[in-house]
Symmetry: D3
Subunit: 116 residues, 6 copies
Amino acid sequence: MEEKKLEEKIGKIPVIFKELKETDPDLYGKVMGLDQVIWADGALSRQTKKVIAIAIAAALRDGHAVRAQMAGAANLGVSKEEIEEGLRVAFLLAGMPAYVHGKTALEEYLGNRPKK
Amino acid sequence: MEEKKLEEKIGKIPVIFKELKETDPDLYGKVMGLDQVIWADGALSRQTKKVIAIAIAAALRDGHAVRAQMAGAANLGVSKEEIEEGLRVAFLLAGMPAYVHGKTALEEYLGNRPKK
Amino acid sequence: MEEKKLEEKIGKIPVIFKELKETDPDLYGKVMGLDQVIWADGALSRQTKKVIAIAIAAALRDGHAVRAQMAGAANLGVSKEEIEEGLRVAFLLAGMPAYVHGKTALEEYLGNRPKK
Amino acid sequence: MEEKKLEEKIGKIPVIFKELKETDPDLYGKVMGLDQVIWADGALSRQTKKVIAIAIAAALRDGHAVRAQMAGAANLGVSKEEIEEGLRVAFLLAGMPAYVHGKTALEEYLGNRPKK
Amino acid sequence: MEEKKLEEKIGKIPVIFKELKETDPDLYGKVMGLDQVIWADGALSRQTKKVIAIAIAAALRDGHAVRAQMAGAANLGVSKEEIEEGLRVAFLLAGMPAYVHGKTALEEYLGNRPKK
Amino acid sequence: MEEKKLEEKIGKIPVIFKELKETDPDLYGKVMGLDQVIWADGALSRQTKKVIAIAIAAALRDGHAVRAQMAGAANLGVSKEEIEEGLRVAFLLAGMPAYVHGKTALEEYLGNRPKK
């Protein structure tokens, strides 16, 4: 039931986090508790938090994290334009390659490019 | 007039950007043009873009950038709670020290700590 | 009591974390739970985990995080030589400036330099 | 003979470093000299230094470096649990994606996942 | 015509930037204007700027950016030795894995390795 | 004598490196050997290598490294305009805050601002 609640907040739970439930239930429980608090609707909506997460992952040039975050975006109802604008902030703060990391994943998950 | 328009979008223009107007007006003009497009209200509001910028700067552990961004937050009407929630996303994506960088500046600019 | 247990694991609890107890007890409780699990003696000793933390903070060139971690090192019984060797690994993985960030703090907290 | 000595310290020498011996023997010699000093048993064992290296590479989200370091871990007798604990420190210092970078490689090299 | 001018400065325009011309001509125009100023011959030649870009991308461990920059290097007449020396500066400033990121791409684009 | 040779290549030797000569002559000797090779005139001049180092340090937002590198620039005869152009490449590759880190130090060391 906890997984369903988290999925409503972030759109999609990464496989490696689900595996942690089997291998280390204590750590899993604690990280899950933290996630439930941080991703929930608050002063910022879940959707805004998703855009922030994608922008940070792009700024850190973390291709895996960008894709892991992007994978849940559509389920949450985040629009392609919202993510595009967040990535442009990442361009100013972290450079053109940061924008490119995010843009490439954006086109794969919410656009027309084939998934890599 | 352009400076006033940008100030409405980001809250406060850093000194070093203003100096660029004197030393290199061509570069200044081009960066200003880019800023005007990226920071304007769009699918995301200016306020949301400000929170994203603060969260990215914290994730990059860039104390100067965090403060430069935080300095304009109150003028834009961004609340302390919105920034706090953005910083918690930075914690999950970039670690506790990233959260601390942002939190420290948040308390200085929108809280109770004396400015460093 | 929980604070005392954590202090035995990391040597010194940063001020900003203690403040979180007042401002957000729910988040504080969850982060505290995670910290208690991760910093405890295990396959790696608390002391080894401290060296890893210092080396990572140096590799990320995070001066504040390096100092926050270094502040607890002596209390844990970590030696200057152990930290020095961890910083040399950081040099190979992240460059000379990473080593310098750590070395500067090492001399301030476990050596002869005056604290900045 | 020098390569054998280094291999005993780090478990496995990356191909690109071996190639450097042909293309630039002077630089190779100097880097080799540095490596021999830094990776040797000292106040920290070779095994602890390996865990630090993996944790740093994960914190820097450097997938290639994580794998290059992980490749030598089994040869050195580093256990899966020791690396897991080091990666949890990386999670606290550098965020969940840093942990994931390391965990993914850990499962490929010392676990059950197929190598990518 | 503008694309041809930029290509003379950087050697090769990335596909994703060309796509931006269709999807967002206003942003494209502004970024293009900035690029034309920054990459042109000045106190530093275009070739030196290319070496700097490759070295920065390697220091940031950004494999995609390294390749995007490397792809234009030969067209600009930058030599393999110049890039090699820039990458060694990246090694000192950002660690051995940074050097490896750059070296791998260097061998693919200006050397003997098959392209990945 | 070796210190004088290195000073001719980089302009100014950081204090902490000189201290290493007393505390760890073996490591010092090996790092010195590496430095002598990497910073010397080659396919790239010492001056170009200095600009690359400054640009990388700015891209990594490492204020201490930027200043350590900038301190030797004037001695080497690197011009303010050359560094400015290198920093603009850093802006495109790593974002506006990276440019600001470098620009601030540039004005302190080769310009008009008081040193911090």
